[in-house]
C-alpha cells in the first residue's frame, strides 16, 4: 500500500505538473524553432508575442462572458482562442511586413535580426501593457477539477490524494492534437515539405520553384497558432501576467536549443526535458522516501537536491551544458 501511495505522490506532484508545464514549453519551443529554422533568427520577442496572443484571447473571453456565452464545464476561452489566433497572425504579419521583411531582403546577419527582434519585443511589451495593463489576470471559468484530492482519497482509500485540474488535461490533450497535426502538415503535405526544404537549403529550394513569400506567410501563420494556443493554455493553467510571459522566453529558448534548434520534434521533446528536470531536481523527496523506505531508514532532511528558488537555474544550466558538449542539441538540429 505504501508503494502505491508513493507512486500517487510522484504522479500528483511531479509527473502531471511536469507534463503540463512541458506541453506549454513545447508549444513555445516549436514556435522558436520554426522561426529559427525558416526565417533564420533567434526571436527574442517570443514571450511577448505569446502574451499578445493570450491578451487577445482574454479580451474575447471577456466579450463572450459579457454576452453570456459559455461552454458549460469547459472554459469560455476555448471559444475565444480562434479569434485570438487571427489577431495574433495579423499582428505578426504586420510586424513582418514593416520590420523583418526589410532585413530578409538585405540578407542581414542573424545578429542584426536578433537586435531587431529586441525592438519588436519592446514594442509588443508596450502594446500589451497599454491595452491590458501589467497586472495579474485570471480568465479561467468552468469546472476547475476533474478529480479532487479528497474525492480520490475517499474513492481509493489511499493516504495520498491525486488532484487533476481540468486545465492540465486540456493542456496535454490540445498539445498532443496540435503537435500531431503540425507534424502531419510538415511531413505529408506539399507546403510542409517545401518548408522543410527551404529550411535545409534556401538556394536549392528557390531553384526548384518554391515561393519564399508563401513559405514565410505559412510560417507566421503556424507560429501565430502555436504562440496563441501555447500562451492561452499557460494563462488558463496559471494566470496571465505580461512579465511572466517575458520570463518564460528563457526556458522556452532552453527547450528549443536542447532539442536541437531548427528541429521541431526535438523542440517538442526538449520542452518535456526541461520541465521534468526542473521539477525532478527541485522536488523534496522526503515524503516519498517515508513511504518507500522502512521506518528506521527514514531521512531527516527534505532530500531536496536544489531549493525551488533555483528552478529556472536548472534549465539554464542544462542548456549551458548542452551548448558546450553538444551544440547541435540532443536530437541533432542545425549544426553551429
Amino acid at each position: 500500500m505504501d508503494f502505491v501511495n508513493a507512486i500517487i505522490l510522484l504522479l500528483n506532484y511531479i509527473f502531471i505538473p511536469a507534463l503540463t508545464y512541458g506541453s506549454q514549453l513545447a508549444l513555445g519551443a516549436i514556435f522558436v524553432t520554426l522561426i529559427y529554422g525558416i526565417l533564420r533568427f533567434a526571436n527574442f520577442a517570443t514571450g511577448d508575442m505569446m502574451s499578445f496572443g493570450t491578451m487577445m484571447t482574454i479580451l474575447f473571453t471577456w466579450y463572450f462572458q459579457s454576452l453570456g456565452v459559455s461552454l458549460g464545464v469547459l472554459p469560455t476561452a476555448l471559444l475565444a482562442i480562434p479569434l485570438g489566433i487571427i489577431f495574433m497572425i495579423l499582428y505578426m504579419l504586420l510586424i513582418d511586413k514593416f520590420v523583418f521583411k526589410y532585413y530578409r531582403h538585405q540578407k542581414s546577419p542573424p545578429v542584426q535580426f536578433a537586435m531587431v527582434s529586441i525592438g519588436v519585443m519592446f514594442v509588443t511589451q508596450a502594446v500589451v501593457r497599454i491595452i491590458i495593463g501589467p497586472g495579474d489576470r485570471r480568465f479561467f471559468d468552468g469546472e476547475k477539477f476533474i478529480i479532487k484530492a479528497r474525492e480520490f482519497k475517499e474513492m481509493t482509500g489511499l493516504n495520498e490524494g491525486l488532484a487533476i485540474k481540468s486545465t492540465q488535461v486540456l493542456t496535454i490533450f490540445v498539445t498532443i492534437v496540435l503537435v500531431s497535426l503540425l507534424f502531419w502538415f510538415l511531413n505529408k503535405t506539399k507546403t510542409g515539405k517545401s518548408m522543410k526544404a527551404y529550411s535545409d537549403n534556401e538556394d536549392l529550394a528557390l531553384l526548384s520553384g518554391i515561393d519564399p513569400k508563401k513559405i514565410v506567410l505559412v510560417t507566421w501563420v503556424i507560429a501565430g497558432i502555436l504562440a496563441t494556443i501555447g500562451g492561452a493554455l499557460y494563462g488558463l493553467d496559471k494566470s496571465f501576467k505580461p512579465f511572466t510571459y517575458f520570463n518564460n522566453m528563457l526556458p522556452i529558448f532552453a527547450a528549443a536549443i536542447v532539442g536541437g534548434i531548427g528541429n521541431p520534434f526535438g523542440a517538442f521533446l526538449g520542452g518535456y526535458v526541461i520541465a521534468f528536470s526542473e521539477i525532478l531536481l527541485t522536488y523534496a523527496y522526503k515524503k516519498f522516501f517515508m513511504y518507500v523506505l522502512p521506518e528506521s531508514m527514514e531521512p531527516d532532511s527534505l532530500v531536496q537536491l536544489l531549493s525551488t528558488d533555483y528552478k529556472f537555474a536548472v534549465s539554464f544550466s542544462i542548456l549551458v551544458i548542452v551548448l558546450i558538449y553538444r551544440p547541435s542539441g540532443i536530437f541533432k538540429g542545425k549544426v553551429l
Binding site: V99, P109, P110, M115, I118, A126, R129, I130, I257, Y310
Partner: protein, 456 residues
Amino acid sequence: MRKNLNVIAAYSIMMVLILMVGIFQSWNIALSIFNLCLISAVMTMGANIQWGYAGLINFGIMGYTALGGLAAVLISVDPVQEAWRAGGFDILMSLWLIVVMVLVIRFVLKRFEKSKIRTYSIAAIIISGILLIRFSAEPGIEAIEAVDPAKTGFLGGFGLPIIFSWIVGALFAGGLAFIVGKVALGLRADYLAIATLLISEIVIAIIKHEDWLTRGVKNVIGLKRPAPYEVDLQTTDWFIKLVEKFNSGKLSVIENLADRQAALNQLVIEGSSVFVKLCYSGLFLVVVIILLILTQKALYSPWGRMMRAIRDNEEAANAMGKNVVKQHLLIFILGSAIVGIAGAMLVTQDGLFTPGSYRPMRYTFLIWVMVIVGGSGNNFGAILGGFVVWFLWIEAAPISLFLINFFTSGIPETNALKAHLIESVPYFRFLMMGLGLLFIMRYRPKGILPEKIEIK
C-alpha cells in the same frame, strides 16, 4: 574641429536638455538623471568594447552589474562577527573544497587524454563535489542565517570605504567573464547571446537566494557613502554660508528676518541634496573620463587595430598569426569588468543593494538599445547613447502624457479611452525605446555617431 562638429553638437543638445529639466522641473531631478546617465554611459562603454571593437554579443550585462553591486556590499558593510563565529568555519571549509575540486579537475584535464571516460569522470567529480559542499556547508549557512535575521543574517563584508568596491567589482565581473568566456565564446553569435543571457539569470538566481552571502531578497540597506550626508550638511556652517551666498539676491528681497531664516532653511535642505548629488556626479565624471581616455587610446593603438581586424574578418586575422580565441577572451573580460565598475557605482549611489531589482529588461536590453542607438564602435557614441536613452527612459512618461493630452484635447476628461491611456502612461517608455531602436536600425544602422576610423 570641423570633423568633430557632429559630436560637439550632439553633446551640446544633450546638455541643454538636461539643463532644461533642471530649470523647468528641478535641479534634483536633473542631477539624478545626469548621474544615472553617467552610470549608463560606463555600462555602454563596457558593452561597446565587446560589440563595437570585437563584434562579441554579450546579453549578460545584468549579471555583471549585479556582481559589481555585490562587491559594493562585500567591501563596505562591516563584518558580522557573530555570524563569522557561528558559521564562518563551515563556509571557509566549503571554499577550500571548491578550490580542491577545481584543482582536481585541472589535474584530470592535464593528465589524461580527451576521451569519454574523462568527460564522465569530470562530471562525476563536479556532481559529487557539489553534493559534498552542499552537505558540509548547510549547518554553517543555517547558523549564519539565524543570526539576527531581521538585521543581519549574513556574513557581512570587510568594512572598507565603498570606493574600493569599484575596483573589486571590476575584478568580480572580470572573473565571471573569464569563466563564461572560456565556456561560451566558441558559440556562434546568436547562441552566444542566448547563453550569456541565461548565465546572467543563473547569477541573479544565486545572488537572490544565497542569503548567507548577500542577504538575498531581504536587501542590504544603508551602505556607507563616499559623499557627505544631507543631515550633516544641513548643520554645517560653511555649507549654510555657501547656500546663503549663492542665493543672496533671492534672500535680500525678503524683509522680515524670520521669513528670511525660514526661506534659508528651505534652501539649505534643497541645496544639501543637490550638493550630495553633485559630489556623486564629480566622482562618476572622473570614472567616465578615465575610461574614455583609456578606451580611446586602446582604439587607436595597434591592439585596437588588431581587434577591428578580428571583428571584420576573423579568418584573415587568424591567418596573420593573431590569436583570435585569446583576444576574444581578453576583450570579453575587459568589457565585463567595466560593466562591473558601473554595477558598483550604481549601488554606491543608491546606498542599497536589492537583488530583486535586477531584471534583464532594464540591465541588459536597455543597455543594448543605448549601444545601438549611440553608435557601436565609437566611444563618444556609446556615451551619448547612454545619455540619450536614459534621458528618454525617464522623461518618456511626461512626454507621452503631454502628447496624449495634446492629441485628445478635444475629448472630455471622462472619456474611458483617454482615462485608460493616461493611466498607462508609464508603459509608453517601452514603446518609445522599441520604436527608437527599430528606426535607428533601419535608417541609421551605425547609430547617431557612427564609427569613424582615421589612421593616425
